[in-house]
Amino acid sequence: MTEDILRVHDLSTRYFTQDGQVNAVSNLDLRIERGEVFGIVGESGSGKSVTARSIMDLIEPPGEITGGEIKYRNGEFAETVADEHPNAVNGEFVNLLELPPNVRQSLRGTSFSMIFQDPESSFNPTLTVGEQLAEAVEVQRRASARPRSTRARTQSEEYSLGNFLLSTVLPSQKYITEESRERAIELLELVGIPDPVERADEYPHEYSGGMLQRAMIAQALAGEPDVLVADEPTTALDVTIQAQVLDLLDELQEETGMTILLITHNLGVIARMCDRVGVMYAGEIVERGSLEDVFDEQVHPYTQGLLGSVPDLEGATRRLQPIPGNVPSLLDHEMDDRCYFADRCPKAMEDCLEHPPEFEVPGSDDHEVRCVLAEMEYAESRAVPDDHFSETSRTAADKHADPDRTEDDVQPQRAEQPVDDSGGDRL
């Protein structure tokens, strides 16, 4: 058994919006082993991106990490920060949330890197790809020269104010040293871009989508990170290109032994890449375990619904079994203290009206589920009456709740009844 590289405990991230407090991530526990690929899967608005951004410390106001611990295992790093921040250190683990922003910033790139969904909008269109990669390399070089701070050095000749002003007039390659440029080319070659020397001098618009995604992966690898957070890395790509990028990530992971936290809504990508999986719903992980636990032995009705919604590429045509209704509101005052899935769940029971803890599922070491069905059988006699939720919790659920995509989660009341008829009749 390998050691844990990251332990997230009781993490809560909230957004304080005009409509009220949005519980994007609530009391989330997560454990990632060194060298594995951990997948988080969920629908839009389930909090999977916010989880990734919390780990990267990229939460911006009105969002805030309101509680919990993110513990990162790195003995060397623990020693360096032990003197100044003794509270944060516990053995080899460092609680990142106890560290000041500048120290956390120094971890970005060297310990944690991130690749984003949309490569076309993640690059600066006015700089060549080579320069942008070299920039990332430069930041890492300066950071490693003086650990624990990445504030730009202006003392040296290369980075003087005069030179900076000159670089605004002259082609800006001036601002980047020859070594970092060479390293950038090496990185481009590493991710399989043909002719890296010429390609480095091209602008993002001259790249295709798949190549830009490769370039972004190269940029993330510049600091040789321990943990790579990939947030929907292939969502914007065509299937043949998606296959190329997934192959690349697979190869790089084997070569460098880095840990990948893969976030996606595509169950196929999860099955292709991951060792262990967490299924997120309404800001919580509702089921977690090895790939086999979740895909073959799943307990939670949401996981079942998610897998039942995917049209099968190979099997005969059958009617899809969708989950009725929509993703719930995450506004604090609209979230009752119950299982958040109960209102869409075909097996909701009276026991579901209390918020379930995580139950261990027998038969596997690592399989946990936030559903009472792990402990008891579904009984018709205890079922919640159909109209229970439409009267109580749905009435106010009319405002948007998702911090990232404001329009996505609006839910007018009573929409669910007809939806049930059209979709859930064969469940």
């Binding site: 010429e198 299937v239 196929g268 919604s309 099968d312 590429l313 899809l320 929509n326 939806v419």
Partner: protein, 440 residues
């Protein structure tokens, strides 16, 4: 298949749609020739009444343009579309209005295809007003029926689009398309903006509506599993052309075209066996539709490109050589950067004679991953020697005489057989070349 007569409801014949670049008055004045972007380049297919035809392909292959052009939302460059026996591009006046009633469209993005300043009641009512159907009361009644039919509540008619989720908005778009009781609906990526669970709801809804109203669908999608689930027949598009068309089960179980095979291989399956599945990934990107490859358009990426008959080479090696040729023909190798810094610099651009062998070795190492048999090694070296002297044409010519493939000389036809495939490996064309089994 059709109940009224044997004639298909929609017949598309050799449809072309080019977009023109450099086509402004200024460009004309300066003498720049317009450049055609061949978005759709000669596609033909039939859609029978009551069936669902799927159109699948990667982004930029022209599938949406095909959908829009056959509805006459865009004027075609060439070709014919007949709808129920009438030539769509010759319609005018009342006939055109009648066609617009019969053929509707549901767009991809439910966030931008609804007017944010109209309530959904107004949105769904608008087609009825435009076509002047019914009295006010009848219209109101019809809108209420439609909204209920697509799974929303009539109480929501006074709400605005921003109050709805993506799946609900797509339902509104479907209700709007149904308002005029059309026979034929083009569904342009109806679920690609939706989450899987919501996508499943919408697909089931579309299925129910088809049964209920006897609708004919053209479903445009890049998602193969959606196509498999919903369609009766499928057409696969690549770079403006249809490469394979057939019944859905036949095409998914026995794909004949190498592109269809690659496409199916690439989709990650949501099952635990996925990691151990053997899969072959397609290399490279889709070429530009401004200057599509001659012959078969897929030949630049095709792992099964057909070598000349008497050539004794591994398929993989031949593929490598073809990729090298491709780059020489496109002049896509920068000679200055070959070798170490400035190793081969020369004033007039060509490499000095004494450096030529080293130059050839450097290029070969960079561009070819596989070792070549001696005879072919010699040919490649000759070609690269021409390259060292900046004779691109001669280098390309040298390789062309030796390695020209039937795939680039002749454009494969779809053919007339029951399961048409535009590939030289299949159908009539294969008889003229080597036996396909001899090299696969």
């Amino acid at each position: 298949m059709s109940r009224r007569s044997g004639r298909p409801l929609v017949q598309v014949e050799d449809l072309q749609k080019y977009f023109w670049e450099n086509d402004s008055i200024l460009d004309r004045l300066f003498g720049d020739d317009p450049v055609p972007v061949r978005a759709v380049d000669g596609v033909s297919f039939d859609i029978h009444e009551g069936e669902t035809l799927g159109l699948v392909g990667e982004s930029g292959c022209g599938k949406s343009t095909t959908g829009e052009t056959l509805l006459r939302l865009q004027e075609p460059t060439d070709g014919h579309v007949t709808f129920d026996g009438h030539e769509v591009y010759d319609l005018g006046g009342d006939e055109l209005t009648a066609f617009r009633r019969e053929a509707q469209v549901v767009f991809q993005d439910p966030f931008s295809s609804l007017d944010p300043r109209m309530t959904i009641g107004e949105t769904i009512r608008q087609p009825l007003e435009v076509h002047d159907i019914g009295t006010d009361d009848e219209r109101r009644e019809r809108v209420r029926d439609l909204v209920e039919r697509v799974g929303l509540s009539p109480d929501q008619l006074d709400r605005y689009p921003h109050e709805f989720s993506g799946g609900q908005r797509q339902r509104i778009g479907i209700a709007r398309a149904l308002a005029l009781e059309p026979e034929f609906i083009v569904l342009d990526e109806p679920t690609s903006a939706l989450d899987v669970s919501v996508q499943a709801q919408v697909l089931n809804l579309l299925d129910d509506l088809q049964d209920e109203f006897n609708l004919t669908y053209l479903l445009i999608s890049h998602d193969l599993s959606v196509i498999r689930h919903v369609c009766d027949r499928v057409a696969v598009m690549y770079l403006g052309e249809i490469v394979e068309i057939g019944l859905v089960d036949e095409l998914f179980e026995n794909p004949d075209h190498p592109y269809t095979q690659a496409l199916l291989e690439s989709v990650p399956r949501a099952s635990t066996d996925e990691r151990d599945r053997d899969r072959e990934t397609l290399a490279g990107d889709v070429p530009s539709p401004r200057d599509p490859p001659s012959g078969c358009r897929f030949r630049t990426r095709c792992p099964m490109v057909i070598p000349p008959e008497d050539l004794e080479l591994e398929q993989e090696t031949y593929r490598e050589l073809m990729s090298l040729r491709e780059r020489i023909e496109r002049r896509d190798i920068s000679l200055e950067s070959v070798g170490d810094d400035g190793q081969f610099d020369a004033d007039d651009g060509s490499v000095p004679d004494e450096d030529v062998p080293a130059f050839i070795a450097a290029v070969k190492e960079r561009l070819l991953d596989v070792p070549l048999p001696p005879r072919h090694d010699a040919i490649v070296e000759e070609a690269l020697a021409e390259l060292a002297a900046e004779n691109w044409e001669a280098a390309a010519e040298r390789l062309r005489t030796e390695y020209e493939s039937v795939c680039e000389r002749e454009s494969p036809d779809l053919g007339e057989q029951a399961h048409p495939v535009a590939c030289h490996l299949h159908g009539t064309a294969s008889e003229r070349t080597a036996e396909p089994d001899s090299w696969t």
